[in-house]
C-alpha cells in the first residue's frame, strides 16, 4: 500500500537508532504483516486540532500519560481547526497518516468511506455503554471506527440579572422565547443572539430548532423545518435578534453576550471559561426551548472522536488502538469532561459527572436526548448541511419565504 521510499523520516531514523535488526519493519515498502509484532514501537504520531489553550495543554498531558502507560512517546501535531481535514488528505496521499488521528465527529464517516481508517473491532475495542448518538457518528457501514471520550451540545444561555430586572422567566417553549426576547430588547441590547452564519456552524445552531420540531435532514423542504426557520426569521424581523446574526460565528455571539448586548444566547459549554472571567456577568444555561410544552429538545452532538488510520504497520496500529482506549477510560472521560466543559460519553458516568460538575447539568440532560449529525446520512451529511445553511441565509438575509428557501436549497 505504501510506496517504497515514502516512509516517514522518523521511521528511518528509528531504524538507525535501534540495535535490533529492524530492517524488516522499518525499511521502505511498508511492513504489512512482514514484521508482524516483532518491531517495538517507540513513538506514535498523533494529529489533532486542539491548537490553542487550554485544550492544547489538557490533551498534551492526557496523551503523554496514556503514552507512558503503554510505553511509547507521543509525537503530537496540533493544527488549527479548519485545516485538519486538508492536512489529513495531504497525509493520505503522501502515505504519511499519523498513528492516532482525532476527527470532529461529523467528519468520521467521510474519512472512513475512503478506507483510510481501521475498524476498531480489529483491536477488540467496542463502544458498549456509550451514548447512542455518539456511537452512531463513529460507525460507518456497521463498523466502529472511532471512540469519542467526551461530547457537548448547545443550550440557551441567559443573563440572570437582565431577566430578573425585567421579571422574565426562563422560556421553555418557542412562544415563551419569542415574548421573552421581545421584552428584553431595549436600546442597543437585543433579546437573543445566535449564529446563522453561512458555514456548518450556522447549520449546527439551527439543528436543535429543526429537530425538536420534527424536521429531518433527509428532506428539509418540509413544513416542520419551515416553521423552525420561520421562528428565526421572526426573531430578526421583530428586532429581538440583530440582523448581523447571519455573519456571526459562535465566538462572535459569545462576544455579544459578554458585552451585555444580548440577554439570551445559543451557545455551548466551551464558553464557560471565557464567561467566568467577565466580572459582573451572572449567567446560567437552560435547555433550548421546544415548539410545544412537553416535546423533547433534540440538540446536535458535538465533540471529537479518536481513530486509528491504516498505516500498514500492524504493531503501530495496535499500540495506537491502546492509546485510543486509554483516552476513553472512565477516569479520563471524567477528567477531560471536567477540564474542558464537556460531557462524558459513557452513560454510566453521567450521574457522577453531574454531581462533580453541577454547572454542566443542563448540558448533561440535553446530551441524553441528543442526536448525531451523521447518524442518518453518513457521508451525505456535508451536502445536507450546506443545503441547510444556504436555505437559512436565503430566508434571513435574502428575504425569501422560508418554505421557498428550503425548497430551492433542497433541490440544489
Amino acid at each position: 500500500m505504501s510506496r517504497p521510499g515514502a516512509r516517514p523520516r522518523t521511521l528511518r531514523i528509528l531504524a538507525g537508532a535501534c540495535a535490533l535488526p529492524l530492517a524488516l519493519a522499518a525499511c521502505g515498502g511498508g511492513s504489512e504483516g512482514s514484521g508482524g509484532g516483532s518491531s517495538t514501537v517507540k513513538s506514535l504520531r498523533v494529529l489533532d486540532y486542539y491548537s490553542n489553550e487550554p485544550d492544547k495543554a489538557v490533551y498534551q498531558k492526557t496523551l503523554e500519560a496514556c503514552g507512558q502507560e503503554i510505553g511509547v512517546t507521543i509525537d503530537r501535531e496540533a493544527v488549527p481547526g479548519d485545516t485538519l481535514i486538508a492536512k489529513v488528505l495531504q497525509q493520505s496521499s503522501s502515505k504519511t497518516l499519523p498513528d492516532v488521528l482525532m476527527l470532529d465527529n461529523p467528519d468520521l464517516q467521510q474519512i472512513a468511506a475512503t478506507g483510510a481508517l481501521a475498524p476498531l473491532s480489529d483491536f477488540d475495542l467496542s463502544a458498549d455503554g456509550y451514548a447512542k448518538g455518539v456511537v452512531d457518528a463513529s460507525t460507518y457501514q456497521g463498523k466502529l471506527y472511532g471512540l469519542q471520550p467526551v461530547t457537548n451540545t448547545i443550550g440557551l444561555f441567559y443573563n440572570k440579572k437582565l431577566l430578573a430586572a425585567a421579571g422574565v422567566k426562563v422560556p421553555t417553549t418557542w412562544d415563551e422565547l419569542r415574548s421573552a426576547a421581545k421584552t428584553l430588547t431595549r436600546g442597543d441590547q437585543y433579546g437573543i443572539a445566535f449564529s446563522a452564519i453561512n458555514t456548518y456552524e450556522g447549520t449546527w445552531q439551527f439543528l436543535p430548532f429543526m429537530w425538536s420540531n420534527g424536521g429531518d435532514e433527509k428532506d428539509i423542504a418540509t413544513q416542520q423545518t419551515a416553521d423552525a426557520l420561520q421562528l428565526w426569521v421572526d426573531l430578526v424581523k421583530s428586532g429581538s435578534a440583530s440582523k448581523s446574526v447571519v455573519t456571526w460565528s459562535q465566538a462572535d455571539v459569545n462576544d455579544q453576550f459578554k458585552a451585555g448586548k444580548a440577554a439570551f444566547m445559543v451557545n455551548g459549554p466551551w464558553q464557560f471559561p471565557v464567561l467566568n472571567e467577565v466580572s459582573g456577568l451572572d449567567y446560567d444555561v437552560a435547555v433550548i426551548p421546544v415548539p410545544k410544552a412537553g416535546m423533547p429538545s433534540v440538540a446536535p452532538l458535538g465533540g471529537e472522536t479518536w481513530t486509528v488510520p491504516q498505516t500498514g504497520d500492524a504493531s503501530r496500529q495496535a499500540a495506537a488502538a491502546k492509546v485510543v482506549a486509554c483516552l476513553n477510560s472512565d477516569a479520563n472521560q471524567l477528567a477531560l469532561g471536567k477540564a474542558r466543559q464537556t460531557v462524558p460519553t459513557k452513560t454510566a458516568l453521567l450521574k457522577q459527572f453531574v454531581q462533580e460538575n453541577p454547572s454542566m447539568a443542563a448540558f448533561t440532560d440535553a446530551v441524553q436526548t441528543a442526536r448525531s449529525r451523521t447518524g442518518e446520512l453518513g457521508e451525505g451529511w456535508p451536502k445536507a448541511a450546506t443545503k441547510i445553511y444556504t436555505a437559512v441565509q436565503a430566508a434571513m438575509a435574502g428575504g425569501k419565504a422560508p418554505m421557498a428557501a428550503l425548497q430551492q436549497a433542497q433541490a440544489g
Binding site: 490553542n52 489553550e53 501535531e77 465566538a251 459569545n254 448586548k261 471565557v274
Partner: protein, 292 residues
C-alpha cells in the same frame, strides 16, 4: 506657458519638480498636511488594530471604544513571549526569499528585455499564467514533493516555496522597468570591452536600483504575509513563521483578539522599519543621472 518654464529651463531635478497634473501646488508643508490627512483615512483600520491590541479583556467588536482609555498591555506580553522566535523565523525566511528571488529574476528579466530569444512571448505568457494559479494548488503539490525530499519543517524549503510568489512577479516588474534603460549606455559598456555578465552587473543593475528595490520590497511583503505555505509545509513548531503563530490565539470557539492584534502589530514593526530604509532608494530616478 508658465513663467516658471521660461525662467528655469535647465534646473536640475532636485527639490523643485514641476507637476504634470494637479492644481499647480508647490511642494511644501501644505502637501505634507494633505498627505497626513490622506494617510489617516487610509490607515484607520491599522489604528483600529492597535486600538484593539491594547483593549482589556481580549478585545472584540462589541465593546471597543474609539480611544483606548484603559490601555492594557497584556496582549503584548503574551505575544512577545510566544511569538518572539517566530518573528525571527519570518524575518530570515523573508530576507532569504528576497535574495533568492532577485538572484533568479533580475537576469531573467534582463534577458527577456535585451536578448533576442525565441519564444519570448511564450515565456512571458507562462510567467503570467503562473500568477493565475491559486496558491493552494501549488502548496498541495509541493507538500508531497517536500515530504519525499525531507524539506518539510525547514527554513530553506520555505524560502524556496515562498519565492514562488515573488519570482514571477519580480520578473514582470523588473522587465517593465528595465525596458526603459537606454540602449546606448549598454552600447557604451560593450564598446569599452565588457562582456554580457559584466555589463549586466556593473552597468545595468546599479541603474535599475529603483526597480530592484521595488521588486525586492514586494517579494519581502509577499513572503512576510504568507500563510499558506507556512501552514502546508510545516508539521511541527520548529520552523514557524509569525503568520502561523498568530493562529494559536484563534481557536474554533474562543478568540483572544488582543493577543492576535498585538502579534500583528509586532509583526508589522520590522517590516515597517525595512520599508522606511528602502524608500530612500526608491526616492530618486536613476536614469536621469546616468545620461548626464
Amino acid at each position: 506657458m508658465t513663467s516658471t518654464g521660461r525662467l528655469t529651463p535647465l534646473r536640475p531635478a532636485t527639490t523643485w519638480r514641476r507637476r504634470s497634473t494637479g492644481a499647480g501646488h508647490t511642494g511644501g508643508w501644505g502637501s505634507t498636511a494633505v498627505a497626513v490627512i490622506l494617510l489617516s483615512v487610509m490607515l484607520f483600520p491599522v489604528y483600529w488594530m492597535v486600538n484593539v491590541s491594547v483593549q482589556p479583556g481580549g478585545g472584540g467588536a462589541v465593546a471597543t471604544t474609539w480611544l483606548p482609555l484603559h490601555p492594557d498591555l497584556s496582549g503584548y506580553g503574551k505575544a512577545l513571549s510566544d511569538q518572539g522566535p517566530h518573528l525571527v523565523t519570518s524575518l530570515v525566511i523573508s530576507l532569504g526569499s528576497v535574495v533568492l528571488s532577485l538572484l533568479i529574476a533580475a537576469p531573467a528579466a534582463y534577458a527577456l528585455v535585451r536578448f533576442r530569444i525565441p519564444f519570448i512571448q511564450l515565456i512571458l505568457l507562462g510567467i503570467l499564467v503562473s500568477q493565475m494559479v491559486p496558491g493552494i494548488v501549488v502548496a498541495n503539490a509541493l507538500y508531497s514533493a517536500y515530504s519525499d525530499l525531507g524539506l518539510l519543517n525547514s527554513t530553506v524549503g520555505l524560502i524556496f516555496a515562498d519565492s514562488s510568489t515573488g519570482i514571477p512577479f519580480a520578473i514582470l516588474v523588473l522587465r517593465a522597468f528595465l525596458a526603459s534603460v537606454p540602449g546606448e549606455v549598454i552600447e557604451a559598456a560593450f564598446v569599452d570591452g565588457a562582456g554580457q555578465l559584466r555589463t549586466f552587473v556593473s552597468v545595468v543593475l546599479p541603474m535599475s536600483r529603483n526597480a530592484l528595490v521595488t521588486a525586492g520590497l514586494f517579494t519581502f511583503l509577499f513572503t512576510w504575509s504568507d500563510f499558506l505555505f507556512a501552514l502546508t509545509l510545516t508539521t511541527t513548531e520548529d520552523v514557524r513563521p509569525v503568520t502561523l503563530g498568530l493562529y494559536q490565539y484563534i481557536g474554533s470557539y474562543v478568540q483572544d483578539w488582543s493577543a492576535v492584534m498585538a502579534t500583528a502589530v509586532m509583526a508589522s514593526v520590522p517590516a515597517v522599519v525595512l520599508l522606511l530604509v528602502a524608500q530612500k532608494y526608491v526616492a530618486t530616478g536613476t536614469t536621469a543621472g546616468a545620461l548626464k
